[in-house]
Amino acid sequence: MSNSLTADAPVPFGRRLRRLMSDRPLIPLILLLVLLVVVLQILRPGIVNERWIANTIKFAIPLAILAGCQTMAMLTGGIDLSVSTSATMAAFIMATQVVNHDPSVAIAIALVPPVLIGLANGIGIGVFRVHPLIMTLGTSLIGSGFLQVYQRTVIATGTSVPPGLAWLGTGLTYGVPNALLLFVPVAGFILFLLNRTGFGRLLYAVGDNERAARLAGVAYWQVITALYVLSGLLSGIAGLLYVGLIKAPSLSLADPLMLPSVAAAVIGGTSIFGGRGGYTGTIVGALILTVLTTLLTILQMPEGARRILFGLIVLLVTAAYLRIIEDR
């Protein structure tokens, strides 16, 4: 009965498909995600259930927020290697301060250091023109050093994770992760920022052609400083959510998210050279990486082989995706 629909489609299907994909780069990315999920389901039938999906989303969210910081930095041609340190700082400081303070006060205190790190990054990169890689690496070292020193002073205090954060991090409501309550507004904010605000426009502008932006009256240092401060703040929020999920504050809590946050942004189609990309792709990129981690955990093979496979798949996905969207 359906043959009547296909009657007038003489344009070669392949060509149209390619065009569609290069115009809407999100489609191939989502297809890649679905492909990974299907492979997972084939390897472990039954794993793709409601609970697994909820878990995947829970773990993808903090990564997606950090990758959001990375996306914004990369849009300006930068990179932020201090996101994981910022996240860890916020988490650890909150968990130790909450013992003596009200959770809201503890959270406010915990968000100060990440913002300061962001401010230092912004000034170093925006005013002194230090390479972002080096600047954020340096502040991340300094930040973790301060955290170590701080840790010594609070050993007697102990740590705790406020129930509210644990509920947000681990809880489900009707099978839906509560973390979405935080993530949907955060993601909405980032998307709105990038697409509908002057500041978002300037991130793209500065990364695309810094000189042109300057000639149009844009003060580079203002944009960059605001960007890295925002990045610090969002990293801190991601850290708080993450400690709610893991419920074990440690001095290396978010470190394993550092490289994946860069990878998620790149897989999501944001150019490391600036000016091109967006946050929707990054969210899918974070999901792809989380599913990939599951896939490799489930596969019974030597750890070495797992890592090789991880590297290969990241490279393949990025290369394939670049091919698809560049083919115009």
């Binding site: 502008a205 695309d208 300057r214 149009a216 844009v218 091109r276």
Partner: protein, 529 residues
């Protein structure tokens, strides 16, 4: 179009009458090159004989540079064939072209910025002694080979580029607007050297907009129009008219008429000058420059390459700070630390190089709306509807072809230039500094820009208009301010600003002196790069 006439070349001292019976050394046929929607070349062909100086001519954007890049492997053609000494060649890289005997001096310098001259020579296997000899012959006597290319002035870099190409002793030398950025004395020497090159049996493909050079040097010319070869002519006396006809096609007459019709409005002379420059000083580049720009005036700036006009525009647009003097806007003293300050004072800058002003990967809309969000207080949510209206109005007003509006880099050069101007029309800048806005733009678009300038002036805007094409002064401007050696040497009312007068003034000659008498003096003045 011819820009500045070259007073230094004696058109009679040319070797002519070589036999043309030999087989061509280089034949290109049906060459095409597409950049996305843009067709840089459609169907170009070229045939060069041994020992010939062959001119490649065409309006801006006709595709000359692209053809040169294809011939030397710097760019891959979309179609076409290249035969060198009768054999089919696929030239994949400049290195390969060089092995086949083709060496080019491109429009932009191609020395490695971070290497010193010697290293640059080694990189290209250029013998040092011949290179040194050529450099001296080309008029740069005491070159330090250990100087880093980044620190060498543009004009000298061009000479080095040429000397390097010559030292390799190519069979075919391709020179893309070699003389455009050179002071007159250096340009003359280039012509001498090229001439000798052809006498020793080597071929030269020579691109220039200056008829006088073509006349002095070339045997034949291939003319390109909109990416197609439209004719090949022998260079004989009085061939210029024919070449212009070929270059511009049917458009030529129309341009003249329409453009002339747009001129004639006079400045609104009320209140203090919109922009006043007093005793402006920028290092050794600008010296005691003073002039006024009235409300509703289009003031032309005329200068040879590198006479300080870049610095003047950079100061007025807030890109650099002057070392002395002052700038007044509406009678009030201003000091710009950043382009944002100039924009705040209502002064917008349209750079000559479009790539300096545009966000290549972003949409037309974002490019036009960029200044709206530049300032801190406009970082918040964008009123998308209002923005859309403003942008559409500007697009309509400038008649921008927005078929490829998703990425500005895919627009044609003329439309890109319109976008850079539209931005400031939309933002409502009262004073616009245009630096050679018609560079690389086709004749029709040029006309639209002339009209727009007059319209803006009519609405009370002020325009400072630098142009390298002298005839534009009478088409667009109310006045011509001539700068030479960093000083204002003359201010001509539009009626007097014909090409001959402007040329004389641009070379620093007094208004009514005979050109021939002062030649020697000119050379010294223009030499300092």
């Amino acid at each position: 179009m011819p820009a500045l006439h070259h007073p230094l070349v004696d058109p009679t001292s040319k070797s002519r009458g070589k036999p043309v019976t030999t087989d061509p050394i280089l034949i290109a046929t049906g060459v095409a090159k597409h950049y996305g929607a843009v067709a840089a070349l459609r169907d170009a062909s070229l045939s060069v004989l041994p020992g010939e100086v062959h001119a490649l001519m065409g309006a801006n954007g006709a595709g000359k540079s692209t053809l040169v890049k294809i011939l030397t492997g710097a760019v891959r053609p979309s179609a076409g064939s290249i035969r060198i000494r009768g054999r089919e060649h696929t030239v994949r890289s400049p290195a390969e072209a060089r092995r086949a005997g083709l060496v080019s001096v491109y429009q932009e310098p191609s020395l490695i910025p971070d290497l010193d001259v010697l290293a640059n020579l080694r990189l290209t296997d250029t013998p040092v002694e011949p290179f040194r000899a050529f450099v001296e012959e080309l008029g740069v006597p005491d070159l330090d080979l250990s100087e880093t290319a980044r620190d060498i002035p543009l004009a000298v870099l061009r000479v080095l580029d040429l000397a390097r190409a010559l030292a390799i002793e190519p069979d075919v030398l391709l020179l893309d607007e070699m003389t455009a950025a050179l002071p007159a004395n250096l340009a003359e020497r280039v012509l001498d050297v090229v001439k000798r090159q052809s006498r020793s049996g080597r071929s030269v493909i020579f691109i220039s907009h200056r008829f006088i050079e073509i006349q002095a040097l070339c045997d034949r010319a291939t003319i390109l129009r909109d990416g197609e070869t439209v004719g090949v002519v022998d260079i004989v006396p009085r061939i210029e008219e024919r070449i212009v006809e070929l270059m511009l096609g049917a458009k030529v007459e129309k341009t003249r008429i329409r453009a002339a019709a747009t001129t004639g409005a006079s400045p609104i002379a009320a209140g203090p000058a919109r922009l006043a420059v007093r005793h402006l000083q920028v290092g050794t580049k600008l010296n005691d420059v003073s002039f006024d720009l009235a409300n509703g005036e289009v003031a032309g700036v005329v200068a040879l390459e590198g006479q300080g006009q870049d610095e003047l525009f950079a100061v007025l647009s807030g890109s650099i700070r002057p070392s002395g003097g002052e700038v007044l806007v509406d009678g009030a003293r201003v000091a710009f630390a950043h382009p944002a300050d100039a924009i705040q004072a209502g002064i917008a800058y349209v750079p000559g190089d479009r790539s300096e002003a545009l966000l290549g990967h972003r949409s037309v809309r974002e490019n036009i709306a960029l200044p709206f969000s530049a300032r801190l207080r406009n970082w918040g949510p964008i009123d998308m509807r209002r923005e859309q209206q403003t942008v559409l109005k500007a697009i309509e007003r400038l008649q921008i072809d927005t078929r490829a509006q998703r990425e500005v880099q895919r627009l044609s050069g003329g439309n890109q230039q319109k976008v850079t101007i539209a931005r400031w029309v939309a933002a409502g800048a009262r004073t616009i500094l245009c630096f050679d806005p018609t560079r690389g733009i086709d004749v029709g678009t040029k006309r639209q820009i002339y009209q727009l300038m007059r319209e803006l002036a009519g609405q009370g805007h002020s325009v400072l208009y630098y142009t390298s094409e002298l005839e534009e002064v009478q088409l667009v401007c109310d006045r011509a301010i001539v700068i030479f050696g960093g000083r204002v040497v003359d201010v001509l009312p539009v009626a007097l600003a014909d090409e001959a007068a402007l040329t004389r003034a641009a070379y620093g000659l007094p208004r009514d002196a005979a050109p021939a008498g002062v030649l020697a003096g000119t050379q010294d003045g223009a030499a300092a790069p």
